[in-house]
């Protein structure tokens, strides 16, 4: 990525429906209402096992959201620090931040999850949930770092110069002038990362965190309704991410212009 083309990389969120994009908009409608229709149809025609699955997983939905929200919170903090590090003029700070991004991006999230759990586990007994949130935060912190960096760099140099010439120091300039403008650029990709993260939390089920997927597996292995259970799980994920992607698209629209 060259320094003058400001582009915020989309990792693995969801297709965000934008107004210009009529095709996607109707694809969104089709998927969303289609999913709802299929769910309704299955519940009505075969309440056993579909209704039983649906009653079994809600605690899992809650856990999925818990992991997602806590991980995004820490990832935002890490991301801000990393983004600032990546644009720092201090070459050591810069190197540390860039290396973190490089390393984290080079390791699959699933491996990071195991790694944090078992590596930390050698020294302390980490609860699964904490290990999961830690690994996801560290991983997404690196992505967020890039989002923050791009967002900060999207603000014209003139803004920094105007603030500095008034007498603001670097930190004041960043927090009073640059970041309050950059969040308009930052928020939509953060929303997108949120969706990506939510989907990736399905990986934490492997650490026995009782998220949606884990709850589904528990149900399936007791009832042997594997196909039916995973159909329902897939539909639940789909509906959640479609709702969230709609939210992100609304946010993008509202943020796209100044008052």
């Amino acid at each position: 990525m060259t320094e003058d083309t400001i582009r915020i990389e989309v990792t693995d969120g969801a297709a965000i429906p934008r107004e210009k994009d009529k095709g996607l908009l109707s694809a969104w409608r089709l998927s969303f209402f289609g999913a709802l229709a299929v769910i309704a149809y299955l519940l009505i025609t075969r309440p056993d096992p579909y209704l039983r699955v649906l009653k079994f997983v809600p605690d899992g939905i809650l856990v999925t959201f818990e992991v997602t929200v806590s991980a995004i919170f820490f990832a935002l903090i890490l991301g801000l620090i990393t983004g600032l590090g990546r644009i720092s003029q201090n070459k050591y700070v810069n190197l540390v931040a860039s290396t973190y991004v490089e390393v984290v991006r080079g390791i699959p999230l699933l491996v990071q999850l195991f790694y944090v759990y078992y590596a930390l586990g050698r020294f302390v007994n980490v609860p699964h949930m904490i290990a999961a949130v830690t690994a996801m935060s560290v991983c997404y912190g690196a992505y967020m770092g890039e989002v923050f960096r791009a967002g900060i760099m999207s603000i014209s140099k003139g803004q920094t110069e105007a603030a500095r010439s008034l007498g603001f120091n670097r930190g004041q300039t960043m927090f009073l002038v640059i970041l309050p403008q950059a969040w308009r650029t930052i928020l939509p990709p953060v929303g997108n990362e949120f969706i990506a993260l939510l989907k990736d939390t399905s990986l934490v089920s492997i650490l026995a965190v009782a998220d949606i997927l884990r709850r589904g597996r528990e149900f399936a292995s007791e009832s042997f309704y594997y196909f039916e259970t995973y159909t329902m799980i897939a539909l639940i994920y789909l509906v959640i991410t479609l709702i969230l992607s709609k939210g992100v698209s609304h946010m993008e629209k509202r943020l796209s212009h100044y008052v």
């Binding site: 003139g158 110069e161 500095r164 008034l166 007498g167 603001f168 009073l176």
Partner: protein, 245 residues
Amino acid sequence: MSDAPIITIRNIYKFFGPLKALDNVTLDIRSGEKVVIIGPSGSGKSTLLRSINRLEEIDQGSIVVDGFDLNDRTNDINAIRQELGMVFQSFNLFPHKTVLENLTLAPIKLKKIPKAEAEATAMKLLDRVGIKEKATVYPSRLSGGQQQRVAIARALAMNPKIMLFDEPTSALDPEMIGEVLDVMKSLARDGMTMVVVTHEMGFAREVADRVIFMDAGQIIESGTPEHFFKAPEHDRTKLFLSQIL
């Protein structure tokens, strides 16, 4: 106008890679003096102006502003910059703040002036630049000329001793240039020390105590507007003036 220089620039050099943007520039500016810098594109006018508040760091030489040596790292550059208002070609208002907030942000955060007082001062300044009625709108709602007048007022809100202008009217539609120059002229009449990079020769003639012609990073010629526009000495100055007038 007092005789003691408020800005002392001694033998400064500035390089951008192999390019010598400032080449042994020496210049004194007295308190209350109005200096207009002219010269062709790329001659180093902005670089000179920006090195006065250290937006560009010089590679050699010294600049002393109001007794503070810019090379001396024990001096707080942020405090020195509060004495130096700067107006940019591209206005650079803060788009996420209203006009009034643009003016009060620095006084409140840096000078710890109570909000009500900062706002009262800001309203006076907005009145002075003729756009009091726009206090509550966002900069994007203003014309270029209005934005630049707000930018001048924003700089004045810190009560600086010196004002630096880098081509303040170059980005404006012709019909808006006058309103900005009028504000600058009134500032000049009030005795502000001003360093102005501009192509507005009418302004130079009317306001400048001294005109400085730069080319290739050097000050080629310096003198009163009369000297400049009637009898410039150097060929490069003559050529430049013949092209621009």
